[in-house]
Symmetry: D2
Subunit: 424 residues, 4 copies
Amino acid sequence: MQIDQNKIDGYNSQSLRKHERALAFLQGEIPHAAEIISQLGEFQIAIPSWALGTGGTRFGRFPAGGEPRNLEEKIEDIGLLHRLNRASGAISLHIPWDIPEDPAHIRAVAAAHGLKFDAMNSNTFQDQPGQAHSYKFGSLQNVSRDIRQQAIEHNIEVIRHGIALGSESLTVWLSDGSCFPGQLSFRKAFENTLEGLSEIYAELPDNWKMFVEYKAFEPNFYSTTVGDWGQSLLYASKLGPKAYTLVDLGHHLPNANIEQIVALLLMEGKLGGFHFNDSKYGDDDLTVGSIKPYQLFLIFCELVDGMNARGMKHATDLGWMIDASHNVKDPLEDLLQSVEAIQIAYAQALLVDRKALTAAQERNDVVAAQEILQQAYRTDVRPMVAEARLRAGGALEPLSVYRGEQVRAGLIRRRGLVTIATGL
Amino acid sequence: MQIDQNKIDGYNSQSLRKHERALAFLQGEIPHAAEIISQLGEFQIAIPSWALGTGGTRFGRFPAGGEPRNLEEKIEDIGLLHRLNRASGAISLHIPWDIPEDPAHIRAVAAAHGLKFDAMNSNTFQDQPGQAHSYKFGSLQNVSRDIRQQAIEHNIEVIRHGIALGSESLTVWLSDGSCFPGQLSFRKAFENTLEGLSEIYAELPDNWKMFVEYKAFEPNFYSTTVGDWGQSLLYASKLGPKAYTLVDLGHHLPNANIEQIVALLLMEGKLGGFHFNDSKYGDDDLTVGSIKPYQLFLIFCELVDGMNARGMKHATDLGWMIDASHNVKDPLEDLLQSVEAIQIAYAQALLVDRKALTAAQERNDVVAAQEILQQAYRTDVRPMVAEARLRAGGALEPLSVYRGEQVRAGLIRRRGLVTIATGL
Amino acid sequence: MQIDQNKIDGYNSQSLRKHERALAFLQGEIPHAAEIISQLGEFQIAIPSWALGTGGTRFGRFPAGGEPRNLEEKIEDIGLLHRLNRASGAISLHIPWDIPEDPAHIRAVAAAHGLKFDAMNSNTFQDQPGQAHSYKFGSLQNVSRDIRQQAIEHNIEVIRHGIALGSESLTVWLSDGSCFPGQLSFRKAFENTLEGLSEIYAELPDNWKMFVEYKAFEPNFYSTTVGDWGQSLLYASKLGPKAYTLVDLGHHLPNANIEQIVALLLMEGKLGGFHFNDSKYGDDDLTVGSIKPYQLFLIFCELVDGMNARGMKHATDLGWMIDASHNVKDPLEDLLQSVEAIQIAYAQALLVDRKALTAAQERNDVVAAQEILQQAYRTDVRPMVAEARLRAGGALEPLSVYRGEQVRAGLIRRRGLVTIATGL
Amino acid sequence: MQIDQNKIDGYNSQSLRKHERALAFLQGEIPHAAEIISQLGEFQIAIPSWALGTGGTRFGRFPAGGEPRNLEEKIEDIGLLHRLNRASGAISLHIPWDIPEDPAHIRAVAAAHGLKFDAMNSNTFQDQPGQAHSYKFGSLQNVSRDIRQQAIEHNIEVIRHGIALGSESLTVWLSDGSCFPGQLSFRKAFENTLEGLSEIYAELPDNWKMFVEYKAFEPNFYSTTVGDWGQSLLYASKLGPKAYTLVDLGHHLPNANIEQIVALLLMEGKLGGFHFNDSKYGDDDLTVGSIKPYQLFLIFCELVDGMNARGMKHATDLGWMIDASHNVKDPLEDLLQSVEAIQIAYAQALLVDRKALTAAQERNDVVAAQEILQQAYRTDVRPMVAEARLRAGGALEPLSVYRGEQVRAGLIRRRGLVTIATGL
């Protein structure tokens, strides 16, 4: 299902005057608005293929209907998002949920929608039908060499799929860990995992990166074998220069200072990618910016500052991805909200007067430092985000177009009410 | 599948000498050991019908095989546990997972295993096939009168099933809540829920109790409509004398002092039931006593003291139940471990020198108060627990018998490897 | 130390054009901007007398200089804040730190600064020189009748001081609790505390309110005798219609949903007062809005909605107070930031399209509900806040005037560098 | 104040028969009891000089009386503890609270009590009278080179004092961090801190170790510059082979798996020291084993296993220290309880059947693994701990002797009621 450019232009023309008034006001306030708009235009966030269907919890799942039934339809859905916001120009695949039987065809479908292939994701946290060994007690950490080998080979297979599609990175999230004290030897689990990661690392093409994702808990509820940034960094450091840490916002203990973690990983040259979502309790996988938007802004402040300090390009030198679940919202609407929240936080971070901030820090002027950050955060930057979309051919108000065009109803008509996309 | 009493006796005779030596030592240390053993003998913990199969998380499920395929087999499994530990003499059913088509037959099956029917559990957190309305946005809290009515009627139906089986209580756990700020009006959600609970309450037989269970989060990740003990107590107080609060150990925010909550609810005459499990992060549903055994002991100290203060009978005046999930353990082994952990904590609490404790409290002797508690906690009370089992005809070492008799292998032979019991 | 109105007008004239441009833009966006500005103008936040000095932790304290040396100077400092922001028109006293030896004089001093006397605060968490009994093991909870009586009499004395000054409420924050399991009987502690509160309650004048503040932990680290909103509500309900719960933002367990607590307390007619601050870990007492501004907004949404539902006047029917500590900031600058953050959140909450929100809730349109809230939150409402100040005679930019006039330097000149105000 | 050996022997003779009965029972259960008793006898825990007085919180302090007035009296107090439990044979000093004006004399005093000098502790979290620069905004992280230099020199001075006393390690705990977003550059703070630590490191004698302690929060409430084990390990790795991480049990975010951290640090060869205490909410500094004794046991399981794997000597190859605060207990009684709790956990860990545990892990037998751990944990090992004391000349029941001899009353008589020891 597609939305014609004419349609989008039509919606835009309706809200253009209001938009231009707001933008003009903002441009009067912000001397370098044009530069921010330009940077926003370049910033793309990958959409994971599994975020296009209704998510669930262990207690149940309430499907919404019209979910994509195959990889082509997933690409189509992201294409639709990208057409509306011009900021979702990449897809992140999950194997085995998205095995591309005909890579050339899939590449062509994606290209037709203007989409690139972001990080490939492996899955050793579930057993697949016909699988020789079970991951019940972990994959790369497993005491059994056979099981570890199976997990290694799966990851190498994922790399191969990625190469065929033009991806350049592999995200390894292991749910490995334990539910009870005594269940495993932390040390052996670490050593086995490192050994397995090393064998996978050895298969990476030269231009690839490996992202080692960490998570504090769930689905294991006593320990996790890649449990925090410190452990991930240990693995990444021992693996080599192509290995990096991946930060998922929901994967921390309560009250963790994520922005500091981001700053330190960038300092070490070991931050590789980012999974956006929001949460109140754990890995709640809620819409980005729906619970703690100020934290998101502070994280972007560190990202911008840390990347600038290393001469990294914001748009391309980290892997940006949404990783959320959509239990009570239309997944596509949720993603539109998430992308906008990310863009807003990014724009606010670009707005920070860093020179003044550094000066305030140098004189320990805590009050001024807070004023400088909040001056940026309290500014309503939405007109700049909308302008960036407009200039790229997208919609001033993506959600309004999505609803105006009754996209979900159309998808249900085409795909049926009871389709269920792969995912959690 | 059953284990002959002869078999159990045979195992017992093997470890009897060792047991008697340990018991004799303990009896020399504890003047009122006989009384504690007697109280242990009366104490029964209900097993929920859904805890007999392998649990899972939203990320996956790794079945163990041999799981009960129907209600009769669930009763059979609990009968087996009870035969081993003589402390699992009740079953708690969940509707619609355990609808008793022929109540008289089911009662007879349970009676044959020496089991009673504990609290009935309703389910409005999942949609059932053919259900008219969805609980996607809650049940009793729902903005739709029709959906609320459906949930009310379901609960009333559960009461009817319970009456037919001889149960005398209804546990209402609502997953109602919200995932995002703004999603619902907290006030209207409370009012709707109260109204619905009142209509259910009106259908309770005179000798029944209603347990209003609370939970801080999951599966809703922003708010829960019965979110903490304060909210549950508000509902229970407004409903009337048959309504009580139910405490599940895993349903609290981090660091909550659960023993104080227990003490206050008992003080108010509003503690009705208890769901045992253990956890590190959230509602992890781990084996009782596997993570925080000292907390379990402290809770039992408050239970014993608070029930004594109100003249309540430990064994019968609260609803005792395990509510756990078994992701990496054989469910029956897990339950044996859980029941023993509960018995140990109960025995330790009975061992506390309450007179000395009160005296220490009266003189603010904090050091002595701790010594008194830890004197009880550090004592190895297992011989008394084993003796209580022995006297009731159970096994000195239930787990050894279970393993020695290769019960799981037998269950798999009879029921198959891929059976999946209803549950989470 | 005072700042002449002429001075303030002078600063205002410098930034007036920029302000008017921003306000005009906002008025074009918000039809009822005038009403919001008017409501902002009425809203006053009390400043606690102990927040005027540098705070500290158990590890140390780093005084800033120029702190008020007595009650008159504290009033003077708040008068200065109020002159700048016209929103700090009340002072909340703490006994024994602020005993007014000559109440008539103190009333006159306050009146000269346009200040009222908000809630009186008692102190039974510290021992004062010459005090007969120690509060080491609690005050109202204490096992000793004599100590409880001393605490009761102290509170009654605080009421008398409050009557003399024209205050109409008493805030009782008890640090009572325990540091170790076994230290106290939760039940007896509750009963003693209730009895003591009842005796204090009996001395309240007819037009007075009593606020029962709760706190999860610190300075006691195992249990607190008024530990959460549920306990506070139990006390307040048993005490009678003049007793209310007071919510301090920093007094919760990790991840607590404070906005829901606020909504339920308002529903029950038992929310009495509010202590603003911000925190990441515990009772961190940081500047309001510096860590979780979105949570602050959500709380204000519930306050506005809940008060409207009961026909309460926002400005006067709850006790609004800042309760923070200022370890690394100039206390007066911190308070200016805090008041502004409160006003911003209040303005955003007033901006919420409640009719549309209710409609979205009625149709379970979670996406729209979030859009409605965030439309208000993302709006830059600062020009309305500034306009409210301007109309009341305050400063467009209070902090700029404060710094421009070098107030702190002036205070140090007058009062000295090593003065230390009473407080934590 | 001293307790004669005769006195101790007298007490011992009274409880000897009961002890021997319990020990005999235990020896019948545990084949290698003798070895455990021997290991217990070698294990010594250092007492920090600041733990001998009553602690406090920012809300107040309630002194107990008889606190040591100088370093000699601190040594005397620890000597008394050591005489009772024969397991507190070391003292850890804090500079500037314990500057040894005459090192030779202080060494002699300590030697007379059988005490060694454990790690030296520096203090850059408070300002001392006459100090040139303030640590209000941090010490080694500070933006000012002068302030950093002052902190560096202080640490070097602490090393010098340590050399004079025969200590061989320096513990650096920095409270450095920030209270507000924007206050500091995380990266520059890290770099400054690393630079400062390097300069201190360069002054370490060859046989010395430097312990880099981490802490999640407090007294800074937004970020800490050595905030978690990952950061500490980064510093220690960059510093060199004499730098290690120090783990304090209370310095973590809620729900952290400390035992896993311990295992990984040992695996990396970078665990240097340990601060024992217990807590429910934060750095509560409660008596060891008073809140989470099972966690303490699990940590000791990792310590024993990890040290064995590296061929480390339990008694000497890590720095063992108590770091607690005593707000409501007699400090010396608290320390006696803490040492015993540590010994119990250590004995239980030694009791674990590690061969069986490894075998269970190798077959993923989670149930058996738990049984093996809990078999050790549930055993009442106190008779072995008491026996170790007895053999070394200590008291079977140290607390009973302490109370029987009315030590606190004696200390108050000698030192006065209002003495206040240095510390928090």
